[in-house]
């Protein structure tokens, strides 16, 4: 069967405005948040209903055409990179909130609903959707589910996976499956848990039932400045060891402080080698009691400066600086690579010292902004793509950092996913038999390898042409890479 027949099958479902085949129209979909990769798909379809998504997947299956589902394209691992000989299913218009039940504290949303819209809809009832990736103003819940997105508040409440109760999905052959349900508990194997984070290899999410949490009654946020990165790392260990469970525990190093201050003026001390942000959240009486303990722990860690947010405005200023840090680093360097490896929390100091050494060895600047409480690093490796060989050198340094994370007993990715970017590192973290088992599972679910072909597993299709520079949305300050 020919390409023409396939396209005519799509035409039977999608009107011209929602079936894009002209090169100019396709250009916008060539890359996601990882702009180093680009590929132009055969076509883009823009479904408005779940039935249209299913029809597109079934057409792909009938004609043996691979497909990639995409929300807002904010993936930092190239997870939504199109396939040249396949189609892209753009889900932004599948964006209805089907149900919001404040009494049961659940929302049923379609895949293209933007993360922040769920919290916006829940806010009048004093509820929120907890996972908060930095791209939350634009990223969609479907993408969050595919990649098990994290954010700054995973320490206490976990990642996306911990907030999804039920899923309706279309499998790669067009079969529909309903996994989980609307209760917090279940008596079946946790298929929802397996599906979340499968990076689009198991099919496409149509709708999700997510749990909502009451908005914390109060927040207490402090900023502590240290003369060394190690001292900040040690402070994180003492906070965790003290038995406190902060909502967020973040570190920024000297370079990222400079960048954030230049970009959004959050009022950070510019001479600090490292900043620690700690946020307690919850019920007032409990937070006040925790606050006293936190102050003792922080004082003992000997920061040279402590700043406490006195009101919501000061708190959001602190967070604005933190969340803008990545795009702000763009001011210090024309290009950068961001990694998101994880190390055991007690080895944070060791990891940071090693990264410093690697940075010196390669003569490449590395800024560090990270979810310290989770051991989730975000080294930003800076380079100038116009310089011959600079990208390759930056990538070699990135590869050494990934090896470091594995050697310390961690993971190659904490929240960005494997996607296109880190697939060659999978065999370093997983044994051959683990890789074989994952491949067998993939093949049992999708024998034709239609769904997001070429991702996660090494030796997929040849990588696309590379280019450098940040994502247009990132340049505009809409999203950042955390």
């Amino acid at each position: 069967m020919s390409q023409a027949e396939f396209l005519s099958a799509l035409r039977a479902v999608f009107p011209p405005g929602r079936l894009l085949t002209a090169p100019a129209a396709l250009a916008a979909y060539e890359s996601d948040g990882l702009t180093a990769f680009q590929a132009r798909p055969l076509a883009v379809v823009i479904p408005e209903t779940q039935a249209e998504v299913v029809a597109a997947v079934r057409a792909c299956h009938r004609f043996g055409v691979p497909f990639v589902a995409r929300g807002s394209g904010t993936s930092l691992s190239g997870g939504a990179l199109p396939i040249k000989e396949g189609i892209l299913i753009a889900l932004n218009r599948l964006n209805r909130i089907l149900k919001l039940d404040p009494q049961q504290r659940i929302a049923v949303v379609e895949a293209g609903v933007v993360n922040a819209e769920i919290t916006k809809a829940a806010a009048p009832y004093g509820l929120l959707y907890a996972p908060d990736p930095s791209s939350q103003p634009v990223c969609t819940i479907g993408g969050n589910i595919a990649f098990n997105s994290g954010g700054a508040h995973c320490l206490k409440y976990g990642m996306t996976s911990n907030h999804v109760l039920g899923l309706k999905v279309v499998l790669p052959d067009g079969a529909i499956a309903e996994l989980g349900g609307d209760s917090l508990e279940s008596v079946d194997a946790d298929y929802v848990g397996l599906f979340v984070g499968s990076e689009g290899l198991f099919g496409v999410v149509l709708e999700a039932t997510v749990r909502l949490l009451p908005k914390p009654e109060t927040y207490r946020t402090l900023l502590a400045a240290y003369r060394s990165l190690e001292a900040a790392g040690d402070a994180v260990s003492s906070v965790i060891a003290s038995g406190l469970l902060p909502g967020a525990l973040e570190i920024m190093d000297h370079l990222s402080i400079q960048a954030a201050e230049a970009a959004v003026k959050p009022g950070y001390p510019l001479d600090a080698a490292a900043l620690l942000i700690v946020e307690l959240e919850g019920e007032r009486a409990q937070v006040e009691a925790e606050w006293a303990r936190l102050r003792e722990v922080i004082d003992a860690s000997q920061p040279y400066l402590i700043k406490v947010a006195r009101d919501d405005e000061e708190r959001s200023k602190i967070w604005k600086g933190r969340k803008s840090a990545f795009s702000a680093v763009g001011r210090l360097s024309p290009d950068y690579i961001v990694q998101d490896g994880v190390v055991p929390r007690r080895r944070l100091g060791e990891a940071l010292a090693e990264i410093e050494k690697l940075s010196a060895k390669w003569g490449i600047r590395v800024a560090n902004v990270f979810h310290a409480g989770d051991g989730n690093l975000h080294p930003l490796i800076m380079f100038d793509g116009r310089e011959p060989g600079a990208l390759q050198r930056a990538e070699e340094l990135a590869s050494e950092i990934i090896n470091l994370c594995i050697r310390l007993g961690g993971s190659i990715t904490g929240e960005h996913g494997v996607g296109m970017e880190k697939r060659q590192y999978m065999p370093r973290q997983f044994s051959e038999s683990d890789m074989d088992a994952m491949w067998a599972l993939r093949k049992a679910i999708d024998p034709l390898e239609l769904a997001n072909r070429g991702k996660v597993f090494p030796d997929g299709e040849a990588p696309a042409l590379r280019r450098v520079g940040s994502h247009p949305l990132e340049q505009a300050g809409v999203i950042s890479r955390v």
Binding site: L127, N148, N162, L184, D188, G193, L194, R293, S411, G414
Partner: protein
Amino acid sequence: MRLRGAATKLRPVADGCQLLDMRRLTGVIDYQPTEFVITAWAGTPAAEVQALLAEHGQYLPFDPLLAERGATLGGTVAANACGPERYRYGGVRDFIIGARFIDGNGHVIQGGGKVVKNAAGFDYPKLMVGSLGRLGALVDVTFKVFPRPEAYATLQMSCPSLDAALALLPKLTNCPYDLNAIDIVVNGSNAATLLVRVGGLAAGLPQRMDRVRSLCGGGEIVAGDDEARIWREAREFTWVAEDASVVKVPLTPARIPALDARIQATRRRYSVGGNVAWIATHAPAELDALLTALDLAGLVMLNALGDPRIGRRVSHPFAERVARALDPQHKFG
């Protein structure tokens, strides 16, 4: 092949199959208190792990069931056996971060890892939760753990009816108070006891309990050993007759009245803020039919006769394909 741990919940019978007894695969493999992560062999008693964690002021926040009767970690994962405090921070699925198991092909598969945040590879550890040993034999499991609340207190409130207790539920679940557990115990057909557990630093606790009491409009505040006993009873099922079958039914609070109207003769308890019904019955077959009619699924957690899965049975192509990959010859299921 059939797997068994301490047989505190489901008691697999050989029935022509090879029975694999996991009880001697025991012991903690790796525990660094400052890391808040623990790895242990699947046959390790949950109580042993809880005791070790308690020495360092830590705990498994999902309230493993039947630990005092010897429940193992593997069985706890396979049966998804979590208790009332699951309400606060999540269940077994929310704390398991790594698992090694042997699938039906005889392959050893390591899923997840030992770090609290990890997006690499398929999430096999979660898949094992509630799998009832049908997808493979767990070898070891890794959990993230949390600091244990320094102190607990419970509001115990007698309500004239289940409806009266249910009316208070949304007030509690939607308020910004940090509540560890919310259970409703039904005593006969005309009365119910609402139990609200709060944990945290001792300093803020009295004030927090006062607020819970005024939100509910009454009740008695219990602390100390009496308080611990209330929740131990739920975890260890001391509230049911020894020979009764105990069925777990996941649901939402809105579905409780329709179910409750049909099980007036049984002892029952609504746990996890109305997300789980625990029903003690001497007639599991009748309950099976009732649950099917109400479109609810159930699991006979204690004293099952035959297949513990009752009520609505979901079969979907995703589950079939997962089973085909992990256990193509139906060694386990």
